[in-house]
Symmetry: C2
DNA sequence: GTCAACAGTATGTAAGGACATATTTACATC
DNA sequence: GATGTAAATATGTCCTTACATACTGTTGAC
């Protein structure tokens, strides 16, 4: 059992009850009353504590789950994921796009190692000192044309990985097969100009525009599974998305 | 009244009923059975047609609204927005970010005109030949440092616009004040290298990396209100987002 | 001692009813 | 004829109830 979640619900307010709950829990998470990892009481108890029906409570939690603040697991319970998420958003999948559009992506593994995680990686994956990760770089091509240069680190307590598997299957496919259920990812998209190394591998010129993407993905248990930095040829790749206002 | 929406609901399927409805309507929209702009029957009738309860029907429509395929308006009805949206996603607001972080953005209006829309603009905003739009370019700076170069077109049947208003208030603020309720936007993020014009205005060098963003925004009535192309200095701007898996 | 069945727990799905509120349309009043 | 009000319509919110299903831990049989 966790804290009884002291929220004030004002039934005379024009603000819908479920939204009051959302705001209250959001505030509690951002304010530190509910630190990351906290287990909430079950829906029925929570509803009773606030004198709400379960559907109303559930609708509130639905929103919080969608916005990435909470994670639910059937038969288990609900947990606070992160207090970092600033805003509700979602986005399309990533390179799975390629296979969906019918193209046949090819992957060349440029390097592969099982090493002690360096400091930035440990921070991104929330690992302690001395933790080991798989670290590798890949070059992805479509129709023989190089498209993306990808550097990734994956925690090593999920599944064994090897070079040949990475060449045949996408990283996410491998991890999903290993039982990982991805729930959310933090991404940052920017731009750089190609250095000599990147230009050579991507078949373009030094100084050409590249799209960069850094990402850390979290699974349904709340642990950070994978972090990486990708660069794409700007002339053949861009991120397309549809944003929905709530 | 619209078409009675012939969907097959299999109550013995392990797929939840509401999700069967989502899939069915999604398919109908993508398949052209429900073209953009179609008015659906009201929730109660639809539920009755499929022998479902209203909450179940509503849950299905909730998802479709969230994914951007449908638009609901209280007291009015539900409408198909677009068949283009391929995937559920959302994202943070845009340059409002700046004011939220406490910075004081400044805007310089570089050009402003009320002109016949050119072909790409007409297509983006779904306007007929001869339609007129406001077209303008702005330079946004933070703490005196130029950050973004923005080119936009806005349909002219919403509100009168002028140069001085744009310098003082954000575009979205102006449009919202004019009664526009934004519902969704299509965005594409990429990269280019700065040309001479861009370099000069953004205070950087020719060949520097820039982040590009093209966007078309749609309001709750389903009409495309605004379209634009922005470029940002890559060394001081990137798009950060949290993706949530459903 | 190992493994399988079972009970407990928490979320997932679904139904049905009731009332609130925003929008539009039609009507009645001034 | 203009204006304000009321009815009709459709979505928004909320409650009660019921059963399904996934996961965990414990108990019991072999």
């Amino acid at each position: 059992m966790a804290t009884p979640l002291k929220l004030h619900i004002d039934r005379s307010s024009p603000v819908p009850l479920y939204h009051q709950v959302v705001q209250g829990i959001e505030a509690a998470i951002h304010g530190g009353t509910l630190p990351a990892g906290t287990r909430l009481d079950n829906e029925i108890d929570l509803a009773a504590q606030l004198n709400l029906s379960r559907p109303t409570m559930r609708k509130a939690m639905d929103e919080l789950v969608r916005s990435g603040l909470l994670v639910r697991k059937r038969g288990v319970g609900t947990q606070v994921v992160s207090s970092q998420v600033r805003r509700h958003l979602e986005l399309s999948s990533l390179f799975d796009d390629l296979t969906r559009t019918g193209s046949k992506p090819q992957t060349e593994v440029l390097s592969f190692s099982h090493v002690d995680a360096d400091e930035p990686t440990r921070e991104a994956l929330q690992l302690g000192t001395g933790a080991r990760v798989y670290h590798f770089t890949r070059l992805r091509s479509v129709d023989g044309k190089p498209l993306a240069l990808m550097e990734n680190s994956v925690r090593d307590d999920i599944t064994d990985m090897d070079e040949s598997g990475l060449a045949k299957r996408g990283l996410y496919e491998i991890l999903r097969t290993a039982g990982v259920n991805f729930r959310l990812a933090n991404q940052r998209i920017g731009a750089v100009t190609a250095n000599e190394y990147q230009a050579k591998l991507l078949g373009t010129e030094v100084g050409a525009a590249l799209v960069t993407m850094e990402r850390t993905a979290v699974d349904d248990t709340g642990r950070a599974v994978e972090t990486g930095r990708h660069v794409y040829r700007a002339d053949s790749y861009s991120f397309e998305m549809t944003l929905v206002q709530r």
